[in-house]
């Protein structure tokens, strides 16, 4: 059946020794570049729609630069979450708890006791809680052998519950000017939140494309058994991927707290789905083994641009969500079509190799 062949073929890229060389995944690069160019095309189209529908606003160059940063600020929190999610998905997993991690880390860092430690204490708490929850996810999945979907779903419920308990079901107002200032501070005319997003994206890109950790992630997600035979500690690596996602959740919590000057148990609602959607339209394969950070970032920026486009045209949030849903479907359809043709090509090449 097509399904089983697709799975078998999909595993192909990970089968070579992941430690030995990178040509096979670099070979996949041109496909990523094509895809990213496609996403850039979508982005340009959205901007053109913006220009056509609101020429009055786009006619003002100061407004345009303000708007670019408004879109990037909107993308920043979810972008950070998406970087972590991209690693987890490439590694063959899924993290449904990231939104809840953001809420728990945010709420915990804004409670009065934690606020009394100052900005440092708040940041430390948010990051510790993020990594801690991520490690628990990783432990349950790697060593408890729970399916990632179930483990992180359970964590989603539990972490939101704990966040509600800690916050006493109230909005926790952040009185810390340093934390709140992150959202309004600019350096050389560029908002601090955009720098933070850039740092996380660049670090993620280097980690995925230029380190053993990244190669192992691709290998573990592509074919865990082959990765194990190649000497990778798959369980430990998987655990680290969830810790990384949790860390991103912690960073996002600080950013979101700074933006909203507060945190509450219901914050970052459905961020996990936004992050998964952005990663998927960015070309990350939901079954693992393939994906790019740049693609995910473009996915997030596309979603932020749609939100912005709908806002400047006074269109409803519901309609905006329908359009987002449509884009996800189209992106996955395109991905399947492209991937099919790519794998067919690989398949044909393999056949040629075996016959000669």
């Amino acid at each position: 059946m097509t399904d089983s062949t697709a799975t078998a073929v999909r595993k192909t890229p990970a089968q070579p020794d992941p430690e030995a060389g990178t040509s096979w995944w670099r070979g996949d690069g041109s496909e990523s570049v094509r895809r990213n160019l496609g996403l850039l095309g979508v982005l340009v189209a959205l901007v053109v729609i913006g220009i056509v529908t609101r020429p009055d606003l786009y006619g003002d160059s100061r407004w345009v630069s303000d708007n670019i940063f408004a879109i990037l600020k909107l993308a920043s929190v979810i972008g950070v979450v998406t970087v972590g999610m991209t690693f987890v998905i490439i590694g063959g997993g899924i993290d449904l708890s990231v939104g809840a991690i953001v809420a728990l880390a945010g709420v915990w860092s804004t409670t009065l006791a934690t606020q009394s430690f100052g900005a440092g204490g708040m940041i430390f708490t948010a990051l510790t809680v993020g990594v801690g929850v991520g490690l628990v996810n990783g432990l349950l999945i790697s060593y408890g052998r729970l399916v990632p979907f179930i483990a992180t779903l359970a964590m989603l419920v539990a972490a939101r519950g704990l966040a509600a308990e800690i916050s006493n079901k109230q909005t926790q107002v952040s009185a810390n000017d340093t934390i709140n200032g992150i959202a309004s501070t600019e350096l050389l005319g560029i908002p601090m939140l955009v720098y933070l997003l850039a740092v996380v994206v660049v670090t993620g890109w280097v980690l995925l494309n230029r380190t053993t950790f990244g190669r192992r992630t691709v290998a573990v997600g592509g074919n865990p058994e082959a990765a194990r035979l190649a000497g990778i500690n798959v369980k430990l690596h998987t655990m680290l991927l969830y810790a990384l996602s949790g860390l991103c959740g912690g960073i996002a919590a600080i950013m979101l707290t700074a933006q909203a000057n507060s945190a509450q148990a219901a914050m970052a609602n459905l961020y996990e789905l936004d992050a998964i959607a952005a990663a998927i339209i960015g070309g990350t394969l939901l079954s693992g083994g393939r994906g790019t950070i740049v693609g995910s970032l473009l996915g997030v920026i596309i979603f932020a641009t749609i939100t912005n486009l709908f806002a400047i045209n006074d269109l409803s949030v519901e309609a905006q969500n329908m359009v987002k849903g449509g884009i996800i479907v189209v992106a996955v359809l395109v991905q399947q079509f492209r991937f099919k043709s790519l794998t067919q090509l690989l398949h044909r090449n393999n056949k040629v190799t075996t016959t000669t």
């Binding site: 914050m267 806002a311 006074d314």
Partner: protein
């Protein structure tokens, strides 16, 4: 020990201390929560007459899980009011996050046969059948805030005036614009969850009242009643409207984020009206150092009133100031406008 090592160990100690500090939060009450103010409940011995201890009444209480300051205040006010009466026993059940869970919780509550049930349903339509069932079983139901469509499903209904909130906000903005001589103002609106009827009612009231002045809403964004979504939608709305004269935000909790977005965008050219009457909002109005100039009330003190009414129903008493022998069927609160001038009077009602 070298200086470097000393620094390291000191750093570890500090980090460890911070971790322990964070850990203690689980056991200690350290959240930024304000307890219900005395004004949100009425002491049992105040005024004599109806408040004098009488027949013992068991009141069952159910409200949706609080994920929001207003809802949290509803539950804490109900509990505080019940505690103020020596003749009331409150049986409170967590209603969870959806109508099905609340229905299950209420079934358990009904089986314990309380004298009266005070109920804030997730959605009045979804729990109408329960109201009918309880009333049929001889347990009077006091509907709190979210009306049942069927008049037989409740003994008494006490609710806020969502349409009136919109009207009050619209009127304040209309008057202010008139006073400033702005003839064609640009008005923005940050609503709550659009799927809720109450949000639609608030927006309808706002629209209708603005129309009286010949004004209309230039851009309306729906958020989710949380500070982070309020910030997100407000930031986008401010982009859409580079010049703004007035803004109505439906909810003060959400307003924390809306105000943060306004501050981050460095915008001061307009006036803002809030909604619900949170303490922080009233204080900000009083301080008069932000764009927030007024808020329209939707007070969670209605939960305290609901418990008082339930007690009177349970004791078969009326409301002593009225000529009626029994508690009336329906009470709708008015939505008042809090401004700098009257803020001090309302501060005690802030939640």
């Amino acid at each position: 020990m070298t200086q470097h090592r000393r620094d390291l160990s000191r750093r570890r100690l500090l980090l460890g201390g911070a971790a322990i500090g964070a850990g203690t939060l689980l056991t200690a009450c350290t959240s930024n929560e304000a307890e219900p103010t005395a004004a949100q409940t009425k002491a049992g011995d105040a005024g004599g007459g109806n408040s004098a201890p009488g027949k013992k009444v068991t009141i069952g209480f159910s409200a949706p899980a609080a994920d929001h300051g207003w809802m949290a205040a509803i539950t804490s006010n109900a509990k505080a009011q019940a505690a103020a009466y020596s003749d009331v026993e409150l049986k409170s059940v967590e209603a969870g996050a959806d109508a099905a869970t609340q229905r299950a919780a209420l079934a358990t509550l009904l089986s314990q046969k309380p004298d009266v049930i005070v109920l804030l349903p997730h959605d009045g339509k979804e729990l109408n059948a329960f109201g009918l069932e309880a009333m049929k079983a001889g347990v009077p139901v006091v509907n709190l805030d979210r009306a049942f469509p069927d008049a037989l499903a409740y003994r008494t209904q006490i609710k806020g005036d969502n349409y009136g909130m919109g009207v009050s906000a619209g009127r304040y903005i209309g008057e202010q614009m008139k006073a400033k001589g702005v003839t064609n103002p640009i008005i923005g609106e940050i609503a709550g969850i659009d799927a809720l009827e109450l949000t639609q009612e608030r927006s309808a009231g706002f629209r209708d009242e603005l129309a009286v002045y010949g004004f209309k809403v230039a851009n309306r964004r729906a958020a989710e009643f949380t500070a982070d979504t309020g910030q997100r939608e407000a930031a986008q709305l401010l982009q859409a409207l580079p010049k703004l004269d007035a803004l109505w935000n439906h909810d003060d909790d959400q307003g924390i984020g809306v105000l943060a977005a306004i501050k981050q965008a460095n915008r001061t050219e307009f006036i803002m009206v809030g909604g619900a009457g949170a303490k922080a909002a009233i204080e900000a109005i009083q301080a008069d150092n932000s764009v927030l100039k007024a808020t329209v009330t939707y007070s969670p003190s209605m939960a305290s009133s609901a418990i008082s009414l339930a007690r009177l129903i349970g004791q078969n008493k009326g409301m002593s100031d009225l000529v009626e022998l029994q508690v009336p069927k329906e009470i709708t609160l008015t939505s008042e406008t809090i401004t700098k001038e009257n803020a001090s009077a309302y501060l005690k009602l802030g939640f």
